[in-house]
Symmetry: C2
Subunit: 115 residues, 2 copies
């Protein structure tokens, strides 16, 4: 079946792009999601895995992401109390974006080394 | 040939992700690239195509993107002088990221409407 070339709708594209940037924009959200996807669950683990992120910045981002249902915060009433973070199924939908950005970043670094 | 499962390198992934966010992060760079890819070349055309971007913000971003070789600025010595912007081949490498974000944004909007 001939591939139906859907005519691009620039206004719809820009709107979709801005919606996405609104939800996951900024310096830290995607690195945090990637860190969680790589198995880090506790605050210190996540922090150690992301260069230059401060304690204040990480806790602010985690709160926002929890509010936006990108992650869930689980509290285990042990002694001391144990807090862990997990991605939500909704969060997994960022997989393609994160992978495209990782691929670009790796290519970009190779290109700069070859220069 | 069995697919060779490359072991993930979290540190390399976070580095690549942060490199990419450094180059195209922020609210406006990807919408500007998308606008140029949709055929807008002049300042006012680009500005009209991106909701909420101010003249000051657009000119600041265009300067930065020109410096980072993401776009080129062409001046035609007509009267009045004509200035146009074009993407560079390097800029085209963002295609996958932009498409992944547009796809996510469209899905996100559908999901919210269905709620």
């Amino acid at each position: 079946m001939a591939e139906v070339l859907t005519k691009r709708n620039p206004a719809e594209e820009i709107q979709a792009l801005q919606d996405t940037i609104y939800v996951i924009g900024g310096k830290w959200k995607l690195p945090i999601i990637n860190s969680l996807c790589n198995g880090n669950r506790r605050f210190r683990e996540i922090q150690r895995s992301i260069p230059q992120i401060t304690t204040r910045m990480l806790s602010k981002e985690l709160k926002e992401m929890e509010m936006n249902k990108i992650i869930v915060r689980k509290v285990y009433p042990d002694s001391p109390v144990l807090v862990e973070y997990e991605t939500t199924p909704y969060c997994k939908s960022f997989g393609n974006i994160i992978q495209a950005m990782i691929d670009w970043g790796k290519e970009h670094r190779k290109m700069i080394k070859d220069e």
